[in-house]
């Protein structure tokens, strides 16, 4: 019984971390049809922001939940204004430019912080479940992810800003005719996606540590989750995270962590072949 509980918590954590690293990308891709290959670096910058902030004496929770999203969100706004907005409608060029940005950011951060892993220890310690121990921080990450997804859903569904965002996403010309500025909505959306990525990177920093090329470890997982999920931002991300999280946990359990990731990626490639529109292209079509 205890073992089942521990395994369930691990699987939930795998699902939550997948959803966490993907949600920023999902918002940017789903809303704006922009493939942001610098997404991994946004996560990396979130991690560094949190660590630098705590070193300057800011409370760890404030650093992770407030400072990191603000810093990375601001960076996202700058990137959108100086780079992305010139490339709307040119998907391939956007991919290339953001890949350039990704390399550039890796180089820049390596120059500033050096090519070493920095970390902060995970707070809150452990907890006993029968004969097993589990980290309380993992449970907190699961809870924060659930809250975050709920907050995004509420915002998109019930607020004016969410309405603007969804309207612009569906038909930018019509939104413009009704007096909205799609350019502003895009800038805010990109900034929000970047802020979510910053938050995710900061939350995962105590677990994995941070180093300049950590984005590469995240990027493939984030992409398969978003593309596997399909058009609906939230239900797609949750469905794909649940599927791939479980696949990853089972295959890691049966082989090694590295091959667990490999099997998950391979499963994702097969899924994209079977469901080119993603999970929400076939199921949960009315989701958000």
């Amino acid at each position: 019984m205890d073992l089942v509980l521990v395994l369930a918590i691990q699987a939930l954590y795998a699902i939550a971390s997948l959803a966490l690293i993907s949600i920023g990308l999902a918002v940017i891709f789903g809303m704006m049809r922009v493939i942001n290959l610098a997404h991994g670096e946004f996560l990396m910058l979130g991690g560094y922001s949190a660590i630098v902030a705590t070193r300057h004496g800011i409370n760890l929770w404030v650093a992770m939940l407030v400072v990191a999203p603000l810093v990375v969100g601001a960076i996202g706004l700058v990137v959108e204004r100086t780079l992305i907005r010139f490339l709307y409608g040119r998907m391939i060029d956007t991919m290339l430019a953001t890949w350039g940005l990704s390399l550039f950011l890796i180089g820049l951060v390596t120059g500033i912080f050096g090519n070493t892993t920095v970390g902060i220890s995970a707070p809150l310690g452990g907890m006993a479940i029968g004969n097993y121990r589990t980290s309380i921080y993992g449970l907190v990450v699961i809870a924060i992810t659930a809250l975050l997804l709920a907050a995004i859903w509420l915002m998109l569904r019930y607020t004016r800003l969410g309405l603007f965002a969804r309207g612009t996403m569906q038909n930018p010309n019509m939104a413009a005719a009704l007096g909205l500025s799609p350019s502003k909505v895009h800038a805010v959306t990109f900034g929000a996606g970047a802020a979510l990525s910053g938050l995710a990177g900061a939350l995962l920093a105590p677990v994995s540590g941070v180093f300049p090329t950590i984005g590469v470890a995240y990027i493939a997982k984030a992409f398969i989750t978003v593309i596997g999920g399909g058009a609906a931002i939230l239900s797609g991300t949750v469905a794909a995270s649940a599927l791939f999280g479980v696949v990853q946990e089972i295959s890691t359990f049966l082989t090694t962590p590295v091959f667990g990731v490999v099997i998950t990626l391979a499963a994702a490639v097969v899924l994209i072949r079977l469901l080119p529109q993603g999970i929400t292209g076939r199921f949960f079509k009315r989701g958000l």
């Binding site: 490339l87 391939i92 290339l96 350039g100 390399l103």
Partner: protein
């Protein structure tokens, strides 16, 4: 000058440059410099493989390094097991081509859109990188060849004359082999592009739907293009494994894939000579910056001094504090900046942009005579 004679002129020029390089470089350069040139030539073959797949086939493959790495590993593993290098060299081309065919079948016959194609090729590259990287233990071996994991495979035997393992190729022989194969690849691709197959391929790139309405199965043509590109990348991988007598999983890495794309975009899509130029230019640039010669030459100090003189000392100080953070010997920083700059400012690449500049006076003359100008401007070929 008619288009046809310009084509022939270009071919003759490319052949002449290649021959001149093959004759002159070994006489002019020391062996170490010749080795540097050899790797430029090998990478140029790799650049040509993506020039075909992306520049002419319109298939943006983010994982060309997967086929490059597979070729290198196939050669290394087979040559350890077999000894004579003839079959391993063939395997280094056939295996990546077969893998490209499999992956291509999966993607093109699934009618996956461009963007997803990019993500899938990227993911496959990462799968290969992760798998090979984690095979460090002695239990991972194929035949007599240990896979070596993140340590790579050292001391790979060089190519030899077919059937005679004793007659191994020396380092200067590898230069000749590389330049001959590069020229063969270049002229072979020119021939392919001039053939019916090549014309259909470009037609599909320009307008896939229209080509299908005309009765061409775009899936098959894309698959064939992708497979040829995979085989060429494998050939480059085989030569690369020979060049350093060493392979490691980093050749599967994203950094390697990014470089190939940068060569093509810098040189220019839709040309063959462009990616070769881009490849040599970028490799030379990263080698130059990486060796720190720029800092030693004092050019930066002079630049700072002249900035201070012209714009005030504050600008000069700002320049040196930026240099304190921005390490120009850092490859990814420079490559990232180059990629960004080209996508935003020179999206066509160097060679097509230069050609436009050369041809513009002629076209302007025509426009003045009222010859051109019905509706939309013509697309550059």
């Amino acid at each position: 000058v008619s288009a046809r004679s310009r084509d022939l002129l270009g071919l003759a020029l490319a052949g002449a440059i290649g021959l001149a390089a093959a004759v002159a470089l070994p006489r002019l350069l020391e062996l170490s410099a010749l080795l540097d040139v050899t790797v430029y030539l090998i990478m140029s073959i790799l650049a040509l493989s993506l020039a075909l797949v992306w520049g002419y086939g319109g298939i943006l493959c983010f994982g060309q390094s997967a086929f490059f790495g597979l070729g290198a590993y196939a050669y290394a593993i087979a040559v350890f097991n077999i000894g004579d290098s003839t079959l391993p060299a063939a395997l280094a081309i056939v295996l990546p081509a077969a893998f490209a065919a499999l992956l291509g079948y999966f993607m093109f016959y699934g009618r996956i859109s461009d963007v997803y194609l990019g993500v899938i090729t990227l993911t496959v590259t990462l799968i290969l990188f992760n798998s090979v990287n984690s095979t460090a233990g002695p239990e991972y071996r194929i035949g007599t060849a240990p896979l070596g994991g993140f340590n790579g495979i050292p001391a790979i035997p060089p190519l030899n004359l077919p059937g005679d393992p004793q007659a191994a190729l020396g380092l200067d022989d590898l230069f000749y082999l590389a330049i001959v194969l590069l020229m063969a690849t270049y002229f072979g691709l020119r021939w392919l592009l001039a053939s019916r197959f090549g014309r259909v391929m470009v037609a599909i790139r320009e307008n896939e739907q229209r080509a299908e309405f005309l009765g061409y199965d775009s899936r098959l043509y894309k698959l064939a293009t992708f497979t040829i590109g995979g085989g060429l990348a494998g050939l480059a991988g085989c030569l690369f494994a020979n060049w350093g007598a060493f392979v490691s999983p980093t050749i599967f890495g994203l950094g390697q894939s990014a470089q190939i794309i940068i060569w093509v975009i810098v040189g220019g899509r839709g040309t063959l000579i462009g990616p070769v130029v881009g490849c040599i230019l970028i490799q030379w640039l990263t080698a130059y910056l990486g060796s720190g010669q720029l800092a030693q030459s004092g050019g930066l100090t002079q630049l700072k001094a002249s900035l201070s003189r012209m714009l005030g000392p504050a600008v000069g100080d700002a320049f040196s504090s930026v240099l304190g953070i921005v390490d120009l010997s850092n490859t990814s920083l420079v490559l990232g900046a180059v990629l960004l700059a080209f996508v935003l400012l020179v999206p066509k690449g160097i060679v097509p942009t230069l050609l436009d500049v050369v041809r513009r006076p002629a076209r302007a003359g025509l426009r003045a005579a009222g010859d051109v100008g019905h509706g939309k401007p013509r697309r550059a070929a």
